[in-house]
Symmetry: C2
DNA sequence: CGGTGTATTGATGGAGTTCAACCAGGGTGG
DNA sequence: CCACCCTGGTTGAACTCCATCAATACACCG
């Protein structure tokens, strides 16, 4: 199967993501791409996989925004991650009986499934690529740790600032030269479910950030007016990836 | 080098941990063990590695309790994980320039270092073992996700209940047949730093759990009197590992 | 025996929730 | 084309949970 579909730009995203860690080789990208199923379209607000389902594959997000979330006993919801094109969805539940997280399309979405057995073959066919995946998961883990700090130990204002700065920096990776303005499809209730606040309070904190001239809103467009101040407010340090990954196994030729 | 040191029990712990996912083969455990450095002793309250240090190795915890934590801009601290014997410490920062978490010995500790290059060789020498490691990290990620829910969306009472139930279940893995009572070395301030509360409030919540006859305390000994009620209170579902891991690469003979 | 770190309890205050009302935009169907 | 709703945003008022400040008690240790 030819790896790259007609509109090759989506795969370019995921290449950009993995290229954050120096270069999987073209041969490896080819392998990974050949493991994935056909491109599927999912409509807005459709569930991709529900928590409790048996995990049978993971998903390469090509286009659109998606959410992974968990539902609590009391009906509350926590959004675990806002997914952007290039992300791989559903991997946390690979080791589990029943999926821990629900995956939902936030906008119309294009994705390709990768079966667990296909994924598993990476470990023998492309060890270097498998190691990159391993590191990518560790990176996700650090992001969760940072969010734990943010939610556990900082005020609502800090949390929202952190969320906006973090989202913007992730968008910058897949849209270089994006500038300080960006559009997003999230409701204030969803933002609250990300950072552990009620929709009402998210609204109020948005207002105070505006009043302080730190951000500017127009509908679902947000402009970060004072990035340094926002970063400082967020409290969590920015992470830089290791330069020296010479300890990894050698990439395929 | 003979893999198992004289007191072989500590390695048995880590075997127990990995055996949660069906069986790395003895040959693989031998490989892993041969990668690790000599046994080191660390005194109580000593720092194993500070956040900001360049990550050069990961650590296999053989004996004792350890903490991984992050310090915020305002001086606040979030404890990311309470580590028990058998845990591998420091892996989240493998992909980073500077370590994200500080590792501290909570009790006198025995550990062995594994250099990054040694760890990396697993991916070519023992792909099945590498895949088990990969799954183990995903499992850690799910634990962080569960805690995010707990801290982000539940009351202090729920959080403490969740913490106690979770800690107890992890202790049960390395001390089968432990019963409902267990001892721990944590101060109330440290527990607060785990679940995002102040020491004062941790104390009050402990009291209410006692008053409700859910737990019983004597110094640093805790007895879980009503496990079902505590589980229900915690709100987060209990996770069960996948039975079918046939999609993994074949283990070494 | 003083000193330090931890546990405990009370009193007060504040950040965020909850409840409620109102508004704006955008489908949809008569 | 307009009445109708329905979702999402906005603002106010009351309340609650948890933080903060403070004081005491207790244990361990030089």
């Amino acid at each position: 199967m030819r790896a790259v579909p007609d509109d090759s730009s989506p795969l370019a995203f995921s290449q950009a993501r993995l290229a954050e860690f120096r270069s999987p080789s073209p041969a490896e990208l080819e392998i990974f791409s050949s493991l994935a199923g056909p491109v599927q379209q999912i409509a807005r607000n459709r569930t991709i996989r529900r928590e409790g389902d048996a995990p049978q594959s993971v998903y390469l997000l090509l286009d659109g925004w998606a959410l992974s979330s968990m539902t609590l006993a009391d009906g509350g919801r926590q959004i675990l991650k806002v997914h952007l094109p290039g992300d791989i969805l559903g991997t946390p539940s690979m080791a589990l009986d029943k999926a821990a997280e629900t995956l939902t399309a936030l906008t119309p979405v294009k994705l390709r499934s990768v079966s667990l057995s296909a994924f598993g073959s990476l470990f023998t066919r492309a060890p270097h690529m498998a190691a990159l995946m391993f590191l990518s998961v560790q990176q996700e883990r650090v992001m969760l740790m940072d969010r734990l700090c943010s939610i556990g130990r900082t005020s609502a204002e800090c949390r929202l600032a952190d969320f906006l700065v973090h989202l913007h920096s992730r968008l910058s990776v897949i849209q270089p030269g994006i500038g300080p303005r960006f559009e997003h499809p999230l409701t204030q209730e969803q933002i609250g479910d990300v950072i552990g606040l009620t929709a009402v309070h998210v609204n109020r904190v948005f207002r105070t950030l505006e009043d302080k001239k730190l951000i500017l809103r127009d509908g679902h467009m947000i402009e970060l007016l004072d990035m340094p101040a926002l970063r400082k407010l967020s409290g969590v340090p920015s992470r830089t990836l290791a330069q020296d990954l010479s300890w990894l196994p050698k990439p395929l030729p």
